[in-house]
């Protein structure tokens, strides 16, 4: 199978300039190639980036592709942007893990599981666009429901929510959480 260099270059350029992830279908349309061929070129690119001297990474998020920097060099990027570190606090990580596994959930439900108020941590997560408001729960007071965002997937290097590590769920049934949280 011939490795098409020009197409790989075009593919890389497209991923570089795109504002959002590009689907293999769209890439195929622009490059006039079929999807399997695009996937093949994406693999070529992934392999090329897989050397230590390369600071870029092919990111797959919800079936779309984009370019990002490697986790190993994150701290340099953080220096450039004068951000101490994008790493999250323990409390924020706890809130985030509850939202990630139980989404959509209300703040009350998160508070109940943690046994402590989570408003500050939640506000940070919303501000960092790791979680977002996805509507209101159909229960008294109609509390806001939260879910994770694409930025969440990006921040943890997950391709999709299905990529999340398995959790021993069912320790606390939905009903219990819901009933006590309100």
């Amino acid at each position: 199978m011939l490795f098409r260099e020009r197409e790989t270059a075009a593919l890389e350029a497209l991923l570089f300039v795109a504002k959002e992830q590009l689907s293999p279908e769209l890439l195929g349309e622009i490059l006039d190639l079929d999807v399997p061929k695009i996937e093949e070129l994406l693999n070529e690119l992934r392999d090329r980036y897989n050397v230590e001297a390369c600071g870029l990474k092919l990111l797959e998020i919800n079936g779309g592709y984009t370019l990002g920097t490697k986790p190993e060099v994150a701290r340099y990027v953080e220096i450039l942007y004068k951000q101490p570190s994008h790493a999250l606090s323990n409390a924020a990580l706890e809130v985030l893990s509850i939202i990630a596994y139980k989404q959509p959930v209300t703040r009350g439900e998160v508070d109940f599981i943690r046994g402590v108020q989570s408003d500050r941590a939640l506000a940070t997560l919303v501000e960092k666009e790791l979680v977002k408001d996805v509507g209101r729960k159909d229960s008294p007071g109609r509390p806001i429901l939260y879910a994770t965002t694409e930025q969440f997937l990006l921040h943890f290097g997950l391709r999709s929510l299905d990529d999340m590590p398995n959790l021993e769920v069912g320790l606390l049934s939905e009903e219990e959480v819901a009933s006590t949280a309100e």
Partner: protein
């Protein structure tokens, strides 16, 4: 008092009462399903005493759990009441609920640790902020006139002239009700489109008698206000009607 020291030292790290309780249980190396309530409750209360000034709400949450622990402890210490279903169920429920909450909390605490590991190992990728305008700055925008020749433009202009010549849909109106100002605009529009002069004979469109009369009146009116002027080179030549500079001096409201 090893544990007490540790508690004091690690204080800022506690994320809540359940976290503290879980830490104490782990330090005691006891089974979460079989918590020695009396001992743990005492340690818990001791830890809170060392907390010092904290956010009121957070402290409340610690106190609520402390009260719950002390309550379970007191029930443990009291001689078992006679087979009173009410009391028996109450205590078992409290313990059971506490264990379940602790287990659920522990699960998510572990999940948070997993996420933290992911954050360092595969996460924190940064993407570019793409400046589309900058990218397209060098791109020559597609010509909006693509495929349009000067001939097309000329034809469009002829359409305008043609429409002006036809006049407004006057025939739909009763002929004897032609408003002078409608005709005034109509005549002026046609004169304006012919800066080099429009023949009087062409201006007087053959329509109904009334239309001719009204357009003639309109022309007289325009001559009088000085928006058009008439020229006749020789006695027998056509009278030519020209727009004057004043012709454009209509208020914008007239047409809007």
């Amino acid at each position: 008092m090893e544990s007490e020291y540790a508690v004091q030292f690690e204080l800022p790290a506690y994320k809540g009462p359940l976290d503290l309780l879980l830490t104490l249980i782990q330090q005691e190396k006891v089974d979460i399903y079989d918590i020695p309530i009396a001992r743990i409750a005492d340690q818990f209360v001791e830890a809170i005493r060392h907390m010092g000034p904290m956010d009121m709400e957070v402290t409340t949450e610690f106190l609520v759990l402390a009260a719950q622990l002390l309550y379970i402890k007191s029930r443990d210490l009291l001689p078992k009441p006679p087979k009173n279903e009410q009391g028996q169920v109450g205590e078992e429920d409290l313990r059971q609920e506490l264990v379940e909450r602790l287990l659920a909390y522990r699960t998510f605490k572990q999940a948070a640790e997993v996420l933290e590991a992911l954050e360092t190992s595969s996460g924190r990728s940064y993407c570019r902020e793409v400046d589309v305008e900058g990218l397209l700055a060098d791109v020559i925008p597609e010509d909006p006139l693509k495929g349009i020749s000067f001939d097309n433009l000329w034809k469009a202009f002829c359409q305008v002239i043609e429409r002006a010549e036809k006049g407004e849909e006057i025939l739909e109106v009763e002929p004897d009700e032609i408003a002078i100002d409608v005709m005034l605009a109509d005549v002026l529009r046609r004169v304006l489109l012919h800066p080099k002069g429009l023949r009087f004979s062409l201006l007087m469109r053959i329509g109904s008698r009334m239309e001719m009369v009204v357009s003639f009146l309109a022309l007289l009116e325009l001559l009088q206000v000085g928006k058009v002027r008439a020229e006749q080179v020789t006695i027998l030549s056509d009278i030519m009607i020209f727009p004057t500079k004043k012709a454009w001096e209509f208020t914008e409201e007239e047409s809007i």
